[in-house]
Amino acid sequence: MAPHTEQLTRPAVRLRGLTRSFEGRTVLDDIDLDLPAGQFTALLGHSGSGKSTLLRAVAGIDHGVAGSGTLTAPERVSVVFQDSRLLPWRRILPNVLLGLDGRDAGERGRAALAEVGLAGRERAWPNELSGGEAQRAALARSLVREPELLLADEPFGALDALTRIKMHALLRQLWERHRPSVLLVTHDVDEAVALADRVLVLERGRIGLDLTIEREAGAHAAYRTRLLRALGVTEAVA
């Protein structure tokens, strides 16, 4: 879990000519994309723009979806879903350790839970947790595997606004400590700008905008305006 600060130049994820379609309707249209190792990327788009399809393709869980193209991704990939997906019949710690074995697994699970602020809740049942806590547990479950790539599919979409702000800070902090490549799918422009170093806008199955975010004071509003315009939202931009 040692933080490694050196940026690798080899891309963690490489898509070439990625095409996916549902019943003849093209959802992803010949996408070329490189995600450098350790980069925090947000993928913005309307609902139905294909952003979840892209994430599921990278995760390798798009069974039965027609498509072509090549795709390379790291060995250790973790996914955080919109719902926490904790198995209701297992307590929190075994949920975090799902699919993990080895003698020190328990220790690592406890450490991951502590890192997301859930120390002491190892023996709680999932339905005893609040929505935010459950999502923290899901984050711990993805972290404990020390992923090289973390895929997050609207992970905060079901949370209330206050919890979401706290979760943003937590995710950014965890990313700074462990430096996995992150692909965050969201439809929240502010969330994308607040968290990511690079924001992609997916539109009609293609990358419509590829924006690098520089963290400097006062830049947020300008990025927001550009992204909203790329998404076709002009009324709210004053």
């Binding site: 995760a59 390798g60 879903f81 719902d83 997906r85 198995l87 799902l98 339905n127 595997r145």
Partner: protein
Amino acid sequence: MTAVTTTTATPPGSTAPSTAEEGHRVRRRRRLSPGRRLPATRLLGPALVLVLWAAASAAGELDPGAVPAPWTVLETGARLWTEGTLADDILTSLRRAGSGFVIGLTAGILLALASGLSRTGEALIDGSVQLNRAVPTLGLIPLFILWLGIGETFKIAIIAIVVYIPIYLNTHAALSGIDHRFVELAEVQGLSRLAFIRQVVVPGALPGFFVGLRLGVTGSWLGLVVLEQINATSGLGYLMFQAQNYGQTDVILVGLVVYGIFGLVSDTAVRLIERRVLSWRRTLSS
């Protein structure tokens, strides 16, 4: 969550328009739910029936030949136990029901797993079981007697069939109803097929399995009663059938009581196991 009885503020749901000078007293609404449960109320009804029965017998209102008094039934039971064959009959009946149940349980689980976890298995098994279900199992008795003879084998086979069907149906339904999101999670977490079955499929299907298990237990007693009363030379049902020939209503009642105890004990046992195994669900309802 209960309403405060005396308050001067107008609640948002109040029917009368609020006035600035005076609000309305909130009166608690008439409760429409039956309210809190009384302790041990389930036993109240049966106890009342027993008291009425005893009272009517003591008053001589009941024909002892048709409905013997409760104490006569108890005496007959004790006599049959010490001098007669009641203990042997119970043992024989238990062995039949038990063997049939274990075979049916095993078959139900194995078939449900095979059919729920593989498309080939489903194609081969599910249709056949549905067809089997459509034929009333007790209607198979004549055929099974011709195939297996009138001994124990055919009785156990019939009970096994009565048991395996509800267990298969409910377990299979639970298996195919497992949340697809959990399957996806298992894929993402890199679970092996065996770990997936052990950690996701089996616990996810357990609630449905227990529904089938309880139906199966009931079914095993039902099958036993029918089989023993028509084609047996030993066992509880045979005892009762003989008593019918000699007009011994007290013996018939002893048999019914024993059947009742069998059913009650086995159902309670299944329910206790269920509560233990599915303890994670209790937190939902409490």
